[in-house]
Symmetry: C2
């Protein structure tokens, strides 16, 4: 049901500078960049490796575009660093129901739009050992299954 | 040079309970468990997926075994949650030299022993956008290259 680490989300104050750091030091290139108005972030996906379920694992860089976005609040309280981790699943709706059944609060009653048209749901970090955890279903176009 | 996300290190107060959570909710099994006296932790590797470089990506759970270990101090100041991320490389010594050359402080002058006999080096989080970052060379026996 959970077949890969889809990405590690990293909060930063300057997306361009941070992406340049990851490119210069590790050689990771930007595979995709977009603005998510709903979440109040500008984001970049840096591809690190392919995964055994036919997808990939990325570093996701997140820069807030407004002061009241969750990522802006995270930066205010914790500073730059890892913001969340995301597990890939072929069925985010079913996976959300399963984790809810297991007693974990799902923050999104319905999956919402994630990067590149993926469908995502976040889990309550207090139910996940302090780890803000996201479930991701890849967009159909990018889904080889 | 950096060919995979090797693992995400998560600090927890109770390794057994946290491993049970990851097994029950996501289905991830413990692939390996050990005590690292030098780092003052008991740890478990939960395999999530295989990677395109012939290795795998894991969730690493870390429980301190003494109050003065870095993970114990992390728990005191930040609470449970993501402690570090680790990139896999076929040559941790060369990779360390490269990132040092790029202006990033490498905390280990010489690679030291990591999980299952891997060779590891940590990078200074202040030079990596607030992310404690580890470089990992898999042990030869586990290295298919």
């Amino acid at each position: 049901m959970f077949t890969r680490i889809d990405h590690i989300g990293i909060a930063c104050r300057d997306l361009d500078a941070t992406a340049a750091f990851y490119r210069r030091v590790y050689g990771f290139e930007i595979a995709h960049e977009e603005v998510n108005e709903e979440q109040g972030v500008r984001e970049a996906m840096l591809e690190v490796n392919g995964t055994s379920d036919g997808h990939r694992t990325c570093i996701q860089l997140l820069e807030p575009i407004r002061a009241d976005s969750p990522v802006a609040k995270f930066l205010d309280s914790r500073g730059e660093g890892v913001h969340h981790i995301a597990f890939g699943t072929p069925d985010v709706r079913g996976a959300s129901a399963d984790v809810r059944e297991a007693g974990v609060r799902v923050l999104d009653a319905e999956p919402r739009r994630g990067t590149s048209g993926s469908a995502i749901a976040f889990l309550h970090p207090k139910d996940c050992g302090g780890v803000l955890t996201e479930l991701v279903q890849a967009p159909e176009a990018a889904d080889p299954t």
